[in-house]
């Protein structure tokens, strides 16, 4: 099924004047019709490798690229001048950048962006160009390509942008396509369709380099896998074999992390209802007077010590529901009860004392921390709200204990959240939420931004919290694997409604609703 070698690299070293060498001798071969996945943890050098393949190692900045062998379509790329690279880009090799949301110029139409790869060669007339653009957009799976071509990236959803971006990379039909994390920002069902698109391109003869940390994606489309760690290839092999029996410790860790354990295991039994939402409804105004219904008549009960999963595709109302449960947002209809008493209906002043019992771990922890404060101050503030706040002198000890509970060292205390890694931030957010000894934790996509290893560690932590503290949880995610790892029950949302509900195992093994089925299929469970 593979054809001629399209890309052949040996001993690739890439360094930066400020930051030193990032890739220390990487080998990579890709043939036509083959998809090679490059996987590795964050900072392994995957994106640098991807950019190097199109001669943009430094993103316009200076970079020092050396290779024993670097042939692109049979030509020696080490000798390429900038002009030669420019000619090759788009025509010989297309790149889909990691940051899909920012990779289309927001001021230009999608059509203009896609057409650019054709226009820079000036070989086609306008009509042909327009046809090719439309075809590329349609090929990429966008409906109404003519309309989309006239829209700008701001008018498109994330998944559509990602597909438009792929269209712009393949419109000139390059024999080699490099896709850097094309699915990270997308929810599972959309990600699945983007991966299908890549698979189709591969089947049509394009050589594909897929850079990702998502082993699920690798399993779906890649023929071979290259495992990168700190700029060195530690393992390489056919996908199935490598995932089934990783030789290297690092690879095994990656694979293990991706294969989340099945269920929380032994946890305390559920108790009385803590949070109860009945008939919850929330609409938002749209510019121009119309209203969008984000949550539409949802009933939900969380019992003490129980973990409820909330899944659904993007925009289905999960965050809105979680915010109403927190009473950060007031429902238009229905109400939320805490311990059987009114919660959403009470004025904020009355709610304040009870807030210690209900905590939210936000999707974006960075945005919810005052940028001026250190972790110490954040935790101290949180500790003050506990039902039995520690004395001033004991706060440091308490904060250190909280960090220990989320497996963070005490030296994190004096850092600002901005200087922490994503996984560390997420754990600080959890520690902050735990400070007031809440009975209910609302977790909004707590792991979707993290790489697999960190994700696994955070989920382990959640399970541990259930086990040791009996904290009830509402876990919002679009990833069924995550829900299965932590939760007992799952609610599937679509268009603001709960379309399916039940014990996790039942729903996953026998999904009844189409949305659930799509989610299950996307996850590949």
């Amino acid at each position: 099924m593979t054809g001629d070698t399209v890309l052949d690299i040996a001993g690739l070293r890439v360094g930066f004047p400020r930051g030193g060498e990032v890739l220390h001798g990487v080998d990579l071969r890709v043939a036509a019709g083959e998809c090679v996945a490059v996987v590795g943890g964050s900072g392994a050098g995957k994106s640098v490798l991807a950019r190097t393949l199109v001669g943009l190692a430094g993103e316009g900045a200076r970079a020092d690229v050396r290779a024993d062998r670097f042939t692109l379509l049979g030509r020696d790329a080490t000798a390429f001048t900038e002009r030669a690279w420019r000619a090759a880009r788009g025509r010989d090799v297309g790149l889909v950048l990691q940051d899909a949301l920012g990779s289309l110029d927001p001021l230009r139409t999608v059509g203009a962006e896609v057409a650019e790869a054709l226009q820079v060669r000036r070989s086609l007339d306008r009509a042909t160009t327009a046809d090719r653009v439309r075809a590329a957009l349609a090929d990429a799976g966008l409906d109404q390509p003519e309309v989309r071509a006239r829209q700008r990236s701001g008018d498109l959803s994330g998944g559509m942008r990602q597909r438009a971006l792929i269209a712009s990379a393949v419109v000139a039909r390059p024999p080699l396509l490099v896709a850097d994390e094309p699915t990270t920002a997308l929810d599972a069902t959309v990600a699945a369709r983007v991966l299908d698109l890549l698979a189709r391109l591969r089947d049509e003869g394009t050589a594909v380099v897929l850079v990702t940390h998502d082993l699920g994606a690798v399993a779906r489309v890649a023929d071979r896998v290259v495992v990168l760690r700190d700029g060195v290839v530690v393992e390489e092999g056919l996908t199935a074999a490598l995932l089934a029996a990783p030789r290297e410790e690092y690879t095994r860790a990656l694979v293990d992390a991706a294969r989340l354990a099945d269920g929380p295991g032994d946890v305390p039994a559920a108790g009385a209802p803590v949070l109860t939402g009945t008939g919850l409804r929330r609409t938002f105004p749209l510019p121009g007077g119309a209203r969008v219904t984000a949550v539409d008549g949802v009933d939900l009960t969380v019992h003490a010590g129980e973990a409820v999963g909330l899944v659904g595709e993007s925009g289905s109302g999960k965050t809105t529901l979680a915010r109403m449960l927190l009473a950060a947002d007031t429902p238009d209809a229905g109400q939320v009860l805490l311990d059987g008493g009114p919660w959403s209906a009470r004025p904020e002043r009355d709610r304040r004392p009870a807030r210690a019992g209900v905590r939210l771990v936000p999707q974006d922890p960075l945005g919810t921390v005052d940028p001026r404060l250190t972790v110490r101050s954040v935790l101290h503030d949180a500790l003050r709200t506990a039902p039995h706040p520690p004395a001033r002198a004991d706060r440091d000890a308490a904060a250190t204990a909280l960090l220990a509970a989320v497996h963070l060292p005490a030296d994190v205390l004096d850092r600002r959240p901005r200087t922490l890694s994503g996984g560390q931030r997420q754990r600080v957010a959890i520690a902050r939420a735990l400070a007031s000894e809440p009975r209910v934790l609302l977790l909004d996509e707590p792991v979707s931004a993290l790489d697999v290893q960190v994700q696994a560690a955070v989920l382990d932590l959640l399970v541990e919290l259930r086990r040791t503290r009996g904290v009830a949880m509402v876990l919002v995610s679009h990833d069924l694997g995550v829900v299965r790892r932590v939760c007992d029950r799952v609610l599937v949302m679509s268009g603001g409604r709960v379309v399916e509900e039940g014990p996790v195992a039942d729903v996953l093994s026998a999904p009844t609703h189409a949305v659930t089925r799509a989610l299950v299929a996307a996850r590949g469970i």
């Binding site: 400020r18 939210l360 919810t368 921390v369 005052d370 503030d381 949180a382």
Partner: protein, 279 residues
């Protein structure tokens, strides 16, 4: 990549982090600090000591920056003038920032009608260029140094107020303020601990920039005959008094002007650095 030893690289990185302008600005600010706090250290003379017979001496060994029309030493006056000029700039900026703060906070935190009212007022004031507004205020208040300080302060206030209002709004609706409220902290604590500090912190950088600008505006008023007369050594006054002799005694114009420009530039660079730290 060129091979460099770790040591020189570290020095290089530190310098590059500051940048050439940063280093120069830091030096200039250092010099200004000395001039403000201990002018006698670098210019021991009396800035107001006249010696009419020694007037219009060219810059030289005896008088580094020459002497002015009354025989006063320009270097001494420039150095001793730092406190006055920066004081004027700081005072005008303080007025501007203070008024802007009140308006901006009222609009940003107050009820909707107050916001609407204040926003309209700001729109009107903003529709007048700074100097035009300052000119009108001086017409109302009468010329003089206090009046021009107040005028420049008031004329720059709308800009600060607009900035603050936007800033307050964005901070008040930020995720971390909501998070603090959801954590059960009361409104007063949220205001004091999060909203105010995060609103005011960027102001440090803006105000630093503003001091330099204010010095220039106040000098512009002096130029238009609405500011101050010497003999108080104040750069704007010196410049405007010296400017009429520009044909025969360029140093009377050039040195105070340089002092203003260098100060404003250094404060700008510094303000931007602070802004970067604040961001």
């Amino acid at each position: 990549m060129s091979v460099t030893t770790a040591g020189t690289r570290r020095v290089g990185l530190a310098l590059r982090g500051l940048g050439v302008p940063g280093v120069l600005a830091a030096l200039a600010v250092l010099g200004m600090a000395v001039a403000v706090l201990r002018p006698g250290l670098i210019a021991p003379g009396d800035p107001n000591a006249i010696d009419p017979r020694a007037g219009f001496a060219e810059p030289g060994a005896a008088h580094w920056f020459g002497t002015d029309e009354s025989g006063r030493d320009v270097w001494t006056r420039v150095v001793h003038g730092a406190a006055a000029s920066l004081g004027i700039g700081a005072a005008a900026t303080a007025i501007g920032v203070g008024a802007g703060l009140v308006l901006g906070l009222a609009a940003g935190l107050g009820p909707r009608w107050l916001d609407a009212a204040v926003s309209r007022v700001l729109e009107v004031l903003f529709a007048l260029p700074t100097l035009v507004l300052a000119l009108l205020l001086v017409a109302v208040l009468g010329a003089g140094v206090e009046a021009s300080v107040i005028a420049v302060g008031a004329a720059t206030a709308p800009g600060y107020a607009r900035m603050l209002r936007a800033r307050v709004r964005s901070v008040a609706t930020s995720g971390y303020v909501e998070a603090a409220r959801m954590e059960g902290h009361g409104p007063v604590r949220v205001l004091l601990r999060h909203v105010l500090p995060n609103t005011l912190w960027p102001l440090v950088s803006v105000a630093t920039l503003g001091v330099g600008q204010a010095v220039v505006w106040v000098c512009a008023l002096s130029f238009l005959g609405l500011g101050t007369l010497p003999p108080a050594p104040e750069w704007g006054a010196m410049l405007n008094a010296g400017r009429v002799y520009i044909e025969s005694a360029w140093w009377l114009t050039v040195f105070p002007g340089l002092a203003i420009t260098v100060t404003a530039a250094a404060l700008t660079v510094l303000g931007r650095r602070v802004g970067q730290v604040a961001a």
